[in-house]
C-alpha cells in the first residue's frame, strides 16, 4: 500500500461525499467547456464572415458595433483605387424580421463578393445575383426555417421579395441569414451610399503596415485593422470572452466550495484517525499531502466527468433543431488546458483550509476527541 492507496481508501469510504465533490467540479468543467466553445465558435463564425479572402477590415472609427459603422461608397472606391489593393468588398449588415422570426441577419453585398463563389448553391445561380428585380437570396438554414423555396415570395420586414437563390456556406451565421445586393440593402435599411465594413485584400500582405497608414492618414474617420488585430481588439469579442470566463469561473467557484465542503467533512469525520497517523509518524506535511491528494483525485475525476458532460452538451446543442445550426462549437487546446488547470487550482484551493486544519491536529487532543 502506498500513499495514493491511502488517498483512495479515504475517498472510497465516503463515496457519496466524494461524488458530490466530483459533481461540483464536473459541472464547472462542463459549463466552462460548453460556454467557451460556443462563444469561440460564434466568434469564429463572425470572424469568417468578415475575413473571407481578405487581409484588412476598414470601418468607421470609434463605433461600438459594426452594425453602426458607415463607410461611404466613395471611400470604397478610393480603397479599390489604391496601389497594392487587389480587391475591396463592401458589406452592409442589418437585421430584418420575417414571420415569427424577429431577428434575421441581412447581408448587403456586391455580386463580386468571394463568399458567393465559395457557396454551395442548391437553387438559383451565382451569376444572377443582383440581376433579379426584388430578388433575395437565402442561406440554406434560413430557407429551411422560413419554409421558402426558389421562386416563392417571402415577406421581409415591410417588403416582399422573390427568393432568387438558396446556398449554403460553412458558416452558421451566413446560413441563417438573408442576402441582398448592396444597393437594395442600402435602400431597404435607409443607409444609401454606405457599407458597414470593407474587406480589403492586398496584392502583397507584407505591405499591410503601409496600407494601414495610408488609409488612416487619408481618412481620419476610418480605421484599418488586420484580421488578427481586429479579432483581438474588437470590443464585442472581448466582452464575450470575458463573460464566458466570468460565468465559467463562477461555476468553478461553486465547484471549489463543493470540494472545500467535501474535504472539511472528510477531515472532521476522521480527526481521531488523523491523530493516529501522526502517532504513527506522519508529519504535518504528509497529512496535508493526504488531504491535497484526495482533492486532486476528486478534481481529476471531476475533470473527466465534466469533459464527458461538456462534449455531450455541445453535441446535443449543435444538433438541436431549435438553434438552426447557429452553434458551431470550437474547442481550442489552450482553452482545454486552461479549464483543466482551473479545475485543479479550484480543488486545491478548496482543500487549503481543510489541509491546514488537518496538519495542525494535535495527536493527544485529537485522541480524546469522540
Amino acid at each position: 500500500m502506498g500513499f495514493l492507496a491511502l488517498v483512495f481508501v479515504n475517498l472510497r469510504r465516503h463515496k457519496l461525499r466524494a461524488l458530490i465533490g466530483v459533481a461540483g467540479i464536473g459541472f464547472g468543467v462542463a459549463a466552462m467547456l460548453a460556454i467557451l466553445s460556443i462563444i469561440n465558435g460564434a466568434i469564429g463564425m463572425f470572424e469568417r464572415i468578415l475575413a473571407v479572402d481578405s487581409h484588412y477590415l476598414v470601418f468607421e472609427k470609434n463605433v461600438s458595433d459594426l452594425f453602426f459603422s458607415s463607410v461611404p461608397d466613395e471611400k470604397t472606391a478610393a480603397l479599390r483605387a489604391m496601389a497594392g489593393v487587389e480587391s475591396a468588398e463592401p458589406l452592409l449588415f442589418g437585421l430584418v424580421t420575417s414571420g415569427d422570426r424577429p431577428i434575421i441577419t441581412c447581408f448587403g453585398l456586391e455580386a463580386t463578393n468571394p463568399r458567393l463563389a465559395r457557396a454551395k448553391w442548391s437553387a438559383g445561380r451565382r451569376e444572377d445575383f443582383g440581376k433579379i428585380a426584388d430578388g433575395i437570396w437565402l442561406g440554406a438554414r434560413a430557407a429551411e426555417f422560413l419554409d421558402a423555396r426558389a421562386g416563392r415570395k417571402i415577406a421581409i420586414g415591410k417588403g416582399e421579395f422573390t427568393v432568387a437563390g438558396i446556398f449554403s456556406t460553412e458558416n452558421g451565421f451566413e446560413d441563417g441569414g438573408v442576402f441582398l445586393p448592396l444597393k437594395d440593402a442600402q435602400a431597404f435599411f435607409h443607409r444609401e451610399g454606405v457599407a458597414s465594413v470593407v474587406a480589403v485584400r492586398l496584392r502583397d500582405q507584407a505591405r499591410g503596415a503601409a496600407f494601414k497608414q495610408a488609409v488612416e492618414a487619408a481618412n481620419p474617420g476610418l480605421i484599418a485593422l488586420e484580421n488578427r488585430e481586429f479579432n483581438q481588439g474588437y470590443t464585442q469579442f472581448r466582452i464575450l470572452h470575458f463573460t464566458a470566463w466570468a460565468v465559467g469561473l463562477c461555476a468553478f467557484l461553486l465547484g471549489g466550495l463543493g470540494v472545500a465542503n467535501t474535504m472539511l467533512l472528510s477531515v472532521f469525520s476522521r480527526i481521531r484517525e488523523i491523530a493516529v497517523l501522526r502517532v504513527c509518524g506522519f508529519s504535518p506535511g504528509q497529512v496535508a499531502g493526504l488531504i491535497f491528494g484526495e482533492a486532486v483525485v476528486i478534481a481529476a475525476a471531476g475533470v473527466a466527468l465534466g469533459l464527458v458532460l461538456g462534449y455531450a452538451a455541445l453535441f446535443a446543442l449543435q444538433h438541436a433543431p431549435l438553434f438552426n445550426g447557429y452553434i458551431q462549437a470550437i474547442v481550442k487546446p489552450g482553452m482545454l488546458a486552461g479549464i483543466v488547470a482551473t479545475a485543479l487550482v479550484t480543488a486545491v484551493a478548496g482543500a487549503l483550509w481543510p489541509a491546514r486544519f488537518a496538519a495542525r491536529i494535535q495527536p493527544a487532543e485529537a485522541l480524546r476527541y469522540e
Binding site: 500500500m1 491511502l6 481508501v9 469510504r13 493516529v276 501522526r278 502517532v279 495527536p363
Partner: protein, 222 residues
C-alpha cells in the same frame, strides 16, 4: 546497569489554562529493557504522562528526555514517533476499511521504509503474534484480541526501542487481556524493547519489573 531511556524531572501538565492540574511534578527514570507499569485509577494522569513521554503532547514545565531526544521540540517529537517508539492504545485505533496488512504498513509509509524491508518486517511480526493468517482481512472482520495484536504489531513496525501502551487490555475480556499482556511482555523480553504500560489493573502491574503508582498527578513507588 543500563542507561536511562527516559528521564523526566518535575513534569507538570494542566488543561483549561492551568485550572485543571493533571500532572503535578512527576519525576521518573526508565532504563532500557525494563517493563514499567504506571498504575492508577482512571483520571489519575497515567495517559497524560504517557502522551508526554511519547511526544503526543508537551509538558507545561519540567525536563524530559526520551531516547536522547527532547519531546518538546517538534522535529524531535517526529523523530521519536517515526524511529524510536511505538504506541498501543486501549481502543486499538486502527484504520477501518484497511486490511491488517495495510494498517501495518502505515508507520513504514510515514517513515519511507523500502517496500521489501516493510514486507519482511510485517510478515515476521505477524508470525510472531499469530496474525499471519489474518493479514488480508479487514479490521472490521477480525476479533477484538486480533485487533489489539495488530495494534501491537503496528507499534513495532519501525523497530522501536520503546513501547508505550495505554491500557492495552482495557477493552478486552479477561482471557484475551491476559494473552495480550503476555504478548507485550514476551516481545519486550525477546526483542529488548522497553515497555511502559499504563494500567488500572493491579494483576498486570504486579507482573512488570517495576510499578509506579500514579495518584492525583503525582508518582509514587508501589
Amino acid at each position: 546497569m543500563s542507561e536511562p531511556l527516559i528521564t523526566a524531572r518535575d513534569l507538570r501538565k494542566g488543561y483549561d489554562a492551568g485550572r485543571v492540574r493533571v500532572l503535578d511534578g512527576v519525576s521518573l527514570e526508565v532504563r532500557a529493557g525494563e517493563m514499567v507499569a504506571l498504575w492508577g485509577a482512571s483520571g489519575s494522569g497515567k495517559s497524560t504522562l504517557l502522551h508526554l513521554l511519547g511526544g503526543l503532547d508537551v509538558p507545561d514545565a519540567g525536563e524530559l528526555t526520551v531516547c536522547g531526544l527532547d519531546p518538546r521540540n517538534e522535529a524531535h517529537r517526529l523523530a521519536l514517533r517515526r524511529r524510536h517508539l511505538g504506541f498501543v492504545f486501549q481502543l486499538h485505533n486502527l484504520i477501518p476499511d484497511l486490511t491488517v496488512e495495510e494498517n501495518l504498513r502505515v508507520p513504514a509509509l510515514a517513515n519511507g521504509t523500502p517496500a521489501a524491508e516493510t514486507r519482511a518486517r510485517l510478515r515476521e511480526l505477524a508470525e510472531a503474534v499469530g496474525l499471519a493468517h489474518r493479514l488480508e482481512h479487514r479490521i472490521q472482520d477480525i476479533s477484538g484480541g486480533e485487533r489489539q495484536r495488530t495494534a501491537i504489531c503496528r507499534a513495532l513496525m519501525n523497530s522501536p526501542r520503546l513501547l508505550l501502551a495505554d491500557e492495552p487490555t482495557g477493552s478486552l475480556d479477561e482471557m484475551t487481556g491476559d494473552t495480550v499482556f503476555a504478548l507485550l511482555r514476551q516481545l519486550g523480553q525477546t526483542r529488548g524493547i522497553t515497555v511502559v504500560l499504563a494500567t488500572h489493573e493491579r494483576r498486570f502491574a504486579e507482573q512488570c519489573d517495576r510499578r509506579l503508582r500514579v495518584r492525583s498527578g503525582r508518582l509514587e513507588a508501589a
